[in-house]
Symmetry: C2
Subunit: 387 residues, 2 copies
């Protein structure tokens, strides 16, 4: 009944060591983690129990030595089968003290060197505990509660080869499923049916979960890319987009494909070609040492040359891993520089007429040699046809 | 390309009206919402974009009048197709001011009567924005930021008939899928395969999403109920449990089924019968006016009579709706009293030998007449057999 760990223990040891080095630089005595992705990153836990917000879970990363999991009683057996130095529990649910005093005592008992404890307070994190409990916890701590998110992202942003292979595996599975969409999505099928059948296909090909499926369609393009598929039926002249985040051992691929339904307009074909070319430019620009803002600029040149009116997405790609989106953002405002081990999406999109948008996406990693390795099966330059 | 609303607009109007009445009692000038379930409750939005933590979304419920959605630019089109009085946007991602100043100005511009604004700070909520941004927002507000969660739960805990029918629909679909498990889960099949095939079956029968699948197995029982299915193969003498949270229009059913693999021990049969009987007692005890702690006690009597050693779950059921778990907890510590329109799980479980647990679960609602209406298809008293 052992939980099957997705990586050798040495992988988890290396993560802990890198994190503790980062914490030392940031002068943190401990890091307290509450979110599913961070808990999984350090322990290997595979559970969807996070869907239930009743009980918080805590993982304490000390300045040195093994982690301490502080979890509700229902989680004890499972966490003992994962990677954690020790496990402490409280009887839960107990809303009047849902792990808060136990966590405070464990953190306060640790050696203090800097007087600062990091929490997931910043970018791309939402602390997974009631804010009232966090504020109470902060009062109970003898150290200062500070933002630990830069420490976490510094480590998680650089993936190991084993992590990258998980993302590649997800990307390859979903690529095959995307190629099979014309077999089940026909003229008259609804967006919802196409999305459902694609989800089933992805599961049957071996992805573990499919937490993200967005779908949109419209004549020559679509006006948004984030809603779930509706009851709208596919019509002649539509461009259909499906965007999927599917996981292997928690690691996401995140990319989309566009389909030409019946006979589409020349403008739509031209714009799809432009976003395909912009993707190609993105892949070829992404190198170790490239600033993400320069990556953004290189793609923007292609899109603007093709008559881009706007792009409400606000960026042309982002990091991914145990979250479907992670830092950085491929945008003019992001300071990040690409490094070996980073995994990002290349996601150029453009609106070419009011309400008509086409967005393309692939997933890449920066290799040790400094080049981009495409983790998805590159989309064909011509959209797949649906008839 | 209109988002298909799952309810008539009058349903959303009624929710808003009840919430504003609750806010008046709690002396709140506004309520600011950030979580997927609350956003969906008031707007009807169907999107899995919440998987991406880059951008917060805000919905302001004023003391009177229509709601104001304050969302990142990528969400504008979709939210305009939902139920919201007005929509304001900011260009996002913009980590240095991710909607915070815009939200503050909208809230500060509203009439102030009590000087208090509610946020999702309490029970069963994790605020979906970086805590640093919340603290900054709190400083920008001219009113006091207080806990608005009791207001929200007072309203969401009482479901309309239309909401209950969504949960029933999910429960009926998953009941049929559970009955078909012996067709694909055989001796030697892994927990992971059984879970995957069940998920596919549920999607093909019409559920919209299956965000929660937990699976465990072991000789005569299992030692936990929250991990995802592992590579463990089903063996003669095992009891297999699968616990599913699946949705229709966002509304969860949440229940489990147990299966006898080959020939199981008499003890396991006896304990399954005890938890089945405890469920029956739970269903018959749940009435309008019943305290959930008395519901808990009635079930505990049966379990203790059957030799219960413990139950690390900490409660014998919980509320459900747009979240797989909502208040109340069926436990000795919860003050809640059952009322018509509440939907809860009846979930007795017991460990009868170290590492051997059996847990059962059904979903019920309290009717206008004050009785329990079972929303799932009641499990047979004898476990289904897997061979």
């Amino acid at each position: 009944m052992m939980t099957s760990l997705p990586f050798p223990v040495s992988e988890f040891d290396a993560r802990l060591e890198r994190t503790q080095a980062s914490m030392c630089k940031a002068q943190l005595d401990a890091l307290v983690l509450t979110t599913p992705a961070n808990f999984r990153y350090f322990t290997g836990l595979d559970s969807q129990f996070w869907e239930s917000p009743t009980r918080p879970w805590f993982l304490v990363i000390p300045a040195s030595g093994p982690t301490i999991a502080i979890v509700p009683s229902i989680a004890e057996v499972v966490v003992n089968q994962c990677v954690a130095g020790s496990v402490e529990t409280w009887p839960s649910p107990r809303p009047e003290d849902e792990g808060v005093s136990l966590l405070a005592s464990v953190v306060n008992d640790r050696a203090r060197r800097f007087g600062k404890v990091g929490f997931e307070l910043g970018r791309e994190f939402a602390l997974r505990m009631p804010v009232l409990d966090f504020l109470r916890l902060r009062d109970l701590l003898t150290s200062e509660a500070v933002d630990g998110s830069p420490c976490i992202w510094e480590v998680r942003n650089i993936k190991s080869r084993a992590e990258i292979e998980k993302i590649r595996q997800a990307g390859q599975i979903v690529s095959r499923s995307f190629a099979s969409v014309p077999e089940f999505a026909k003229l008259g099928v609804t967006e919802a049916q196409a999305s459902r059948d694609l989800t089933v296909d992805i599961l049957l090909r071996g992805a573990h979960t499919v937490p993200y499926v967005a779908c949109a369609s419209g004549p020559g393009g679509y006006d948004q890319i984030i809603a779930r598929g509706s009851r709208r039926e596919l019509r002649d002249g539509d461009v259909l987009i499906i965007d999927v985040g599917a996981t292997i051992d928690g690691y996401f691929c995140d990319f989309d494909r566009n389909y030409a339904v019946g006979k589409i307009s020349d403008d739509a074909r031209r714009v799809h070609d432009a976003v395909w070319v912009a993707t190609e430019v993105g892949i070829n620009t992404a190198r170790a040492g490239t600033k993400v803002r320069d990556l953004w600029k290189a793609m923007m040149e292609v899109l603007e040359g093709a008559g881009m009116r706007g792009n409400n997405v606000g960026r042309l790609g982002h990091g991914l891993g145990l979250q479907v989106t992670e830092p950085p953002s491929n945008s003019v405002a992001d300071e990040a520089v690409l490094q070996p081990g980073m995994v990002i999406t290349i996601e150029p999109g453009m609106e070419y007429e009011p309400g008509k948008m086409i967005v393309h996406e692939e997933n890449i990693t920066i290799t040790e040699d400094g080049f981009a390795d495409v983790l998805t099966v590159r989309a064909p330059r011509e959209m797949w046809a649906i008839n």
